[in-house]
Amino acid sequence: MQTHKARRVEIIIEAPMESRLTAALERAGVTGFTVLPVLGGSGRSGRWTREGQVGRQGMVAVVCLIRPERLDTLLEAAFEVVERHIGVVSVTECEVLRAERF
């Protein structure tokens, strides 16, 4: 099948920052993203699990498929938000179906 080069960006970020991140992505012209729940994790700021939490703390994973040429704009927008916060950003090369969607 016909596929098209793209990038898959995965941003793991604190839940209270989710709406700020997605707003920044939209401002940067990102046309789509998907938010996945996260159960727990570990990093420089230690271990956490959803069970050791009250309220809306915790993290989410935002996945964003994007044309390669738009990657830099996206990363800059994401970095702006992520900068002072805990969380990680990774980028993978991928292929997508239906390029007109991106």
């Binding site: 069970e51 009250v54 703390q57 916060h85």
Partner: protein, 326 residues
């Protein structure tokens, strides 16, 4: 004194406190017992709705009290001022960074609604009534402390607080404020006839629901404590016990100044003594990301919350009774 011991004893052996202790013990023993997040949130919605609604009905029954506005203002003032006391006390007792001190201070100016709910249930068990509008006071005390804390940070120049319109909306319209104020107003509008329709849902099972909720709070507090051993030094631990007593004292003064009933004074003491662990932590993650969440969560949820639950509330109830002669 014997009064305090009696209340403390009765409180310690109540199903609520024992449930909290069970949760705490299970978490510390690393049992995998958990209350699903969705269930815990549902229980808290129930508690907030029930307490707000009953408060509104009480106000509808007794007529709007002239002291309502004064009490709201008094609560707001307490919430604004307590962070300064907390900030100063932390400076004396600990070596925390400026930012961490400010973040902790925000928590102690704000309130813990579960502590408040538990205090109402202790009052109810002793047959002490209180002003229905105290739930509105509780809601009014959630946010002001955040402003004080951010001001403390910006003044120091040692950090940058990220405040935007979105964050203000999130704080002022956070779930528990909206639910508490909303159900208070619903209770106010529908009054006793409204209560009659839903009484067997929001009144009779209340204490049982509170038991399960406190079981979960114990689990969460215990897991938090296990995950953050060594985060707090002795000074911080001392703060976690002294600050509620300082807050309660301020609450006592304010309650007497406002002319509240015995129950009202006890509740205002409890509110001032309690520390937030839901609304304020979320706001801090956005506004002061450099502040260490382990510090403020462990203090407010792991130290002060259990202290208030087990010793603080009976003490505040006894003192309020002694002072007001109620």
């Amino acid at each position: 004194m014997t009064e305090i011991l009696t209340i403390a004893g009765q409180n310690l052996l109540s199903p609520m406190i024992l449930c909290f202790a069970l949760g705490l013990a299970a978490a510390l023993a690393r049992s995998e017992l958990t209350v699903p997040e969705a269930a815990a949130k549902a229980l808290s919605i129930y508690l907030l709705f029930s307490i707000g609604f009953k408060g509104g009905v009480a106000v509808a029954d007794h007529g709007i009290d002239a002291r309502l506005l004064a009490a709201l203002a008094g609560g707001v003032v307490l919430s604004f001022l307590l962070p300064f006391a907390a900030f100063a006390m932390l400076g004396v007792l600990t070596r925390m960074s400026h930012i961490d001190r400010a973040a902790v201070a925000a928590h102690y100016g704000s309130i813990s609604i579960v502590t408040f709910v538990t205090a109402t249930s202790v009052l109810a068990a002793r047959g002490i009534t209180s002003e229905g509008y105290m739930v509105a006071v509780a809601a009014a005390m959630e946010a002001p402390a955040i402003i004080s804390a951010l001001w403390l940070v910006s003044r120091s120049g040692q950090g940058r607080a990220e405040m935007d319109a979105d964050l203000w909306r999130e704080i002022l319209l956070n779930g528990s404020i909206v639910l508490l104020v909303g159900s208070f107003m619903i209770g106010l509008v529908t009054g006793a006839p409204g209560l009659a329709r839903i009484e067997s849902f929001i009144v009779s099972p209340f204490q049982g629901v509170l038991c399960l909720f406190l079981l979960d709070m114990g689990l969460v507090a215990g897991r938090g404590l296990r995950g953050s051993r060594g985060v707090l030094g002795g000074g911080a631990l001392l703060f976690g016990v002294l600050m509620p007593l300082a807050g309660a004292t301020a609450g006592l003064g304010m309650g007497l100044a406002l002319g509240l009933s015995t129950g009202g004074v006890a509740l205002l003491m409890t509110l001032a003594a309690s520390a937030s662990y839901i609304a304020v932590p979320a706001a801090m993650r956005v506004a002061l990301p450099e502040a260490n969440p382990s510090v403020y969560l462990t203090l407010s949820l792991g130290v002060t919350f259990p202290f208030n639950l087990v010793l603080g509330i009976p003490l505040y109830v006894a003192v309020a009774g002694a002072v007001t002669g109620g």
